[in-house]
């Protein structure tokens, strides 16, 4: 046995290894985990910033004429840096766009993304119900804000509750309504 092993090692095997080179040339010479969802949230973050030009708030929504347009995130933040990047340098008319992350909903926000589980979303929506704040809810949430994201066949779309917007004197441009997947109609003038 030992002899055979030595033989095969030293003799035949060396030749084998030569043949192997031949074969080599023929045979083998031949989120980071977040990245995927981050694409989804990158798109959602871009939407959040790009909604603003299509929306008219009543003057009472801002503390002053030059006050920034404030996009707030309340509850768990799915965006991280993505939202800050999307908003970097963005302006809505004369207003700079800023991002705030809040523990509690706040009427100083013009756009409010509400995250978290269904119960939290409902109570947070309730907290700003009569304020001129465009509430935005995530896809999959059972409670819906004025704008609610929906993921439809791998694309991020959004629904708009125009009636709810009307009730707080927020006017949403017909261009945005056209882009929405579903619109809950408001009273037309």
């Amino acid at each position: 046995m030992a002899l055979l092993k030595r033989n095969s090692r030293a003799g035949t095997w060396r030749s084998c290894r030569h043949a192997a080179v031949l074969l080599l040339t023929l045979a083998a010479a031949g989120q980071q985990a977040r990245a995927q969802s981050s694409l989804e949230y990158e798109v959602k973050a871009a939407y959040l910033v790009k909604f603003a030009p299509f929306i008219e708030w009543p003057d009472t929504a801002f503390s002053s004429t030059g006050a920034p347009l404030t996009i707030c995130v309340v509850g768990p933040d799915p965006f991280g840096q993505l939202l800050d990047r999307a908003a970097a340098g963005a302006r809505d008319g004369d207003r700079p766009v800023i991002i705030r992350r809040l523990a509690e909903p706040d009427a100083a926000c013009q756009i409010l993304f509400v995250g978290g589980d269904d119960r939290a979303v409902e109570s947070e929506l309730e907290a700003v119900k009569d304020r001129p704040v465009v509430t935005v809810t995530d896809s999959g949430a059972s409670a819906h804000g004025i704008i609610s994201f929906a993921v439809i066949s791998n694309h991020v779309r959004f629904d708009i509750d125009e009636a709810e917007a009307d009730s707080v004197s927020i006017h949403i441009s017909s261009k945005l309504l056209d882009l929405a997947h579903v619109v809950r109609k408001g009273a037309r003038p």
Binding site: T12, S15, A28, G30, A35, N154, L176
Partner: protein, 636 residues
């Protein structure tokens, strides 16, 4: 030389003020119109729409940006970005790439053969031996959307040969590569040119066509001595996407040819082409139907004999839907025919034959997977695939995974799964001769190599700046390929399945956004391989024939957006010593400085393997030199 580059980099760093650097690396999404946003596809087209952040598996994703900023010019070099892969270069054209060990042992004719590699759903591992001819795979970095690297068995969902991992390369949609693009590069090892144009034929029909070529000069077989293995490979291709309301139809194809010189063995000519058609139809919310079909032809030949031609025809169907509001089901089936003809390599000294020289291999599979929420935060995934392999018949590949979202930012997962590498012509039909003596033959009773993997992992987003992933694995292997004495007089030796063992270890990585303009990424993996001959086997050679893998790998990457229009990227990698054949541990570094001159023009200077004049990554393999590459990208 490297010192001066580092010095230059350091002085640039000193100049960089911590002002919010503009997103130089063109953050495409943020520049899109609101109409375009609605057209962005957000999940991998395959296998159900689950965000990878929730996937109970060891998954790393290389983004388009990472790919460009690495400066890498070839697909294998791009894959070095994934901390859960081992990438070893052996010549300008050849690489050994694996996950979780088994990089093979070339001298013992054991080749790395346990990965599934997909380019837009087209499988590119060779059915002749289950390994990948990396010199035949190319996607221009500009056209890469992302690369998903899954380590561990993923055979249930992804397809055959996903024993130790899957590399899923997704190319960018034609709509995302519009306009003209010219890329010219020159360096001390390589010169290259690529030209591309993308346009719209109508609102919902976009296309691109590209052509590229490169020449890479020979490496050294020992310092200062050329290995005479330079090569070049012109390639062209196209992609068309038609996107009416509820459908996505994609047609894409590539054509290439190449010539590789080599020292001591004949020069080789490679060539091939492929065409892939896929149709995705949205049935309703959360329900999709997908059809994929492709034809792929590959050819290799050596100047003085020895060649093969392989034609692959593949058809796959997949349907995902939710059932009863709480089951997320994906099921599908596929059929692949591989027709090949091998021209034997015959010579008086040594010959390589396949008996029979031509076959048509049929591979069929059917699979189903259900994701079931157990509670609000716990999800169970059960899957089963049945695969009908050409040589070994039907095999079951079950897979069970549990994911627990402790909070929205912490995920713990565990999985048990089984996968196989099925026998190939190289295992069964091969016959090797030295002179007139047949010394090695394939084995008609060769068994599938099997793995049962036990895995667990954690993924967390500690803050908006810091994310972390850790995966632990214990893979138990049976019937691993080995050389054994032939029991019949047909030859001295034959392939057998007399090695078993387990490989355990960890894979980890983290990303830290230190400052607005500075991101750090680190990766570390450890693995321990433990192989033994099965009881009763007569050991021949030793268990080192399975692989020559490093015990550890570590990497650190820094990505900086410097002043205004400059980015600076640098990465370091430390690869542990290879035991047999011995290759010493090495540490190497790459760096790239890019200047976004205008929206149309980018200039970059990359340096590769900056720390040493030359190093070896695998044996047999060449000395890889330090080199520099200057690249201009012009959009028009």
């Amino acid at each position: 030389m490297s010192r001066s580059v580092l010095l230059a980099a350091a002085s640039l760093l000193a100049l960089a003020s911590p002002v919010r650097a503009q997103q130089l690396a063109l953050n495409d999404i943020n520049q899109m119109s609101i109409q375009q946003l609605a057209k962005v596809e957000i999940t991998s087209v395959s296998k159900g729409a689950e965000p990878l952040s929730d996937a109970p598996a060891s998954v790393y994703v290389i983004s388009h940006d990472d790919a460009i900023r690495s400066g890498a010019t070839s697909l294998p070099d791009l894959l070095r970005l994934a901390p859960n892969l081992e990438v070893m270069q052996t010549s300008p054209s050849n690489y050994v790439i694996t996950a979780r060990g088994f990089n093979g042992n070339a001298a013992d004719q054991n080749f790395s053969d346990k990965l599934l590699v997909l380019i837009d759903g087209r499988s590119v591992y060779s059915p002749l031996y289950s390994g990948v001819y990396w010199d035949m795979q190319d996607v221009p970095p500009e056209n890469i959307e992302r690369i998903e690297v899954i380590s561990g068995p993923a055979g249930t969902l992804w397809g055959a040969n996903a024993v130790n991992g899957v590399i899923n390369i997704v190319t960018r949609k034609a709509a995302d590569t519009q306009g003209g693009y010219l890329d010219l590069g020159v360096g001390d090892e390589e010169s290259s040119a690529a030209l591309q144009y993308g346009g719209h034929l109508s609102d919902d029909l976009a296309y691109r066509v590209y052509a590229k070529d490169f020449y890479q000069r020979a490496f050294d077989s020992s310092p200062g001595v050329s290995a005479h293995d330079g090569w070049s490979k012109p390639q062209g291709g196209f992609r068309m996407d038609w996107t009416p309301e509820n459908d996505t139809v994609t047609l894409e194809g590539d054509l290439y040819g190449g010539a590789e010189a080599s020292l001591g063995t004949p020069n080789q000519v490679i060539g091939g082409g492929n065409i892939t058609a896929s149709w995705q139809h949205a049935l309703e919310e959360n329900s999709n139907l997908q059809l994929l079909t492709y034809y792929d032809e590959t050819q290799r030949s050596m100047e003085n004999g020895g060649a093969f031609v392989l034609n692959t025809y593949d058809f796959e169907i997949q349907h995902n839907f939710s059932l009863g509001g709480w089951n997320n089901i994906v099921w599908g089936a596929g059929e692949r025919a591989d027709q090949y003809r091998i021209t034997d390599r015959l010579s008086t000294a040594s010959s390589l034959l396949f008996i029979p020289p031509a076959r048509s291999l049929n591979l069929a599979d059917i699979f189903a997977q259900d994701r079931i929420p157990v509670t609000d935060r716990v999800e169970l995934t059960l899957g089963l695939k049945l695969e009908d392999d050409p040589y070994s018949g039907w095999s079951p590949m079950p897979d069970a995974r549990l994911a627990w979202k402790i909070t929205d930012k912490d995920l713990v997962w565990a999985a048990v799964s089984r996968a196989i590498r099925s026998p190939t012509p190289f295992d069964v039909d091969v016959s090797e001769k030295l002179g007139s003596t047949t010394f090695l033959t394939g084995n008609a009773n060769f068994l599938p190599e099997e793995v049962t993997a036990y895995e667990a992992g954690y993924r967390g987003q500690f803050s908006s700046a810091l994310s972390f992933s850790l995966s632990l694995f214990d893979n138990v292997y049976d019937h691993l390929k080995s050389i054994q004495l032939n029991s019949t007089p047909a030859s001295l030796l034959e392939w057998g399945n007399t090695i078993e063992g387990h490989v355990y270890g960890l894979e980890s990585w983290a990303t830290y956004q230190a400052l607005d303009w500075w991101r750090l990424s680190a990766g570390f993996n450890l693995q321990h391989e433990n192989f033994i001959f099965t009881p009763g086997a007569i050991p021949l050679l030793d268990v080192s024939q399975e692989g020559d893998d490093p015990h550890h790998q570590a990497s650190l990457r820094s990505s900086m957006d410097l002043i205004d229009n400059l980015t600076f990227d640098a990465d370091f990698r430390d690869v542990g010593a290879l035991p047999d054949p011995k290759v010493p541990e090495y540490v190497e570094a790459n760096a790239r400085l890019a200047w976004h001159v205008t929206d149309r023009l980018d200039l970059s200077l990359s340096g590769f393997n900056l720390l040493h004049g030359h190093h070896v990554e695998y044996l047999p393999g060449d000395e890889i030199r330090r080199n520099f590459f200057l690249e201009t990208r012009w959009r028009f």
